[in-house]
Amino acid sequence: MENFDKKIIDKIENDKIRMKNKAYFIFRSVVLVLAIIFISIISLFFASLIIFTLRASGLLLLPPLGFRGLKMFFFSFPWVMAIFILLLMFFLSILAKKYKFVYKKPLLYSVLGIVIIVLIGGFVFARFSFHDKIFERRERSPIISLFYKGKEIKDLYIGQVIEIGNNRFVLQTKEGNKLTIISKIIVEIDDPVVVIGKREGDIINAFNVRKINNDHSLFPQRRIEKPNLKPINYIHKLYVFKNI
């Protein structure tokens, strides 16, 4: 019987089997690292876009408004984007599994680590006016406008109190609309507020009203507003978004 080692050497020589070049493996490793970096950046971008969307659309103001607020928050949350990020992170953990520091720990730790990094990175990213600038230029590119497209959140009104009456007050929205809010909740002139309620013409039967800070973001942006503006202008960048 022919020796197995001779058989292998003969096969290599007869079939002209060649060793793959070292450069090929270096190239493959570089591509892998670049893919990991690229996916990480895309994940960070979308995580910060979710945070921006929550802040800019006023969605973040909803959870403290009770069950109705939570329900509206849940149904208006950009779930597609969130699931897309989870898929990216899962893909990232598979790519990174080649590395010892990843496979030596249970996959849950790697995924949690990536989630924490993406969330922290997303918050940090969202602190800067990066998304505001893109939002302002969204009309120039159809791809960008796809992600930054706005849609009103039903039954949610954000603005400033300009008149107070008996069990009612007048709210001026950022678009300049004046809405009469029927509510027993006590507010003061110039208060920025968020209202959930059913609209009939210019009258809103409020389910809940809550005072908000001028800057209601989770992490206030570094951008400094002009000091001579009236408070209403501090409820800035109150964009509404379509769920994508």
């Binding site: 290599i12 060793m19 070049n21 720990k105």
Partner: protein, 178 residues
Amino acid sequence: MDMDLSDEDIVKLVQSGKIEPFAILVNRYEKKMKRYGRKFLSEREDIEDIVQRIFIKSYENIQSFDVKRKFSSWIYRIAHNEFVNELKKKKPLRFFDLDVIFPHLLSYKENYGQNIDRQIINKHLNRLPDNYREVIVLRYFEGLDYKEISDILKIPTSTVGVRLKRGLNKLRDIYGKL
């Protein structure tokens, strides 16, 4: 050729373009690969062809091997991938393995099951699920330590320990005498 050269020194020679030293590596690992394959794939007739493929792949990819690492872990990794591909042809393997995803609460010892009877294990090995069978083969028939098995299967060392423990417990259930 100096037969006392380490695997890694021989790989250096192969990487420099010499083909003959590769025969020494084949010679050193032929029996191990065939034994690993026979036990993991449950006595299949085409083991020789699969092992041949393993050596050809090793030769093709030998430039990717870092000589500072252990050659045995590297070639066992190639063998593992090849055997798993063979298993996949017969039946789909589980995509999600909870053993790898979650940390383990179950404790294990590095020398767990040292006094077990290999003949009994051998007799009932093919009745074990693939993931338990493979760690038992690598540990008790190939004599590899937990770290090496972890590097070959690319799973946490704790998962190796837990799979061994569970695999042996399953064998105990099957045989009742281990």
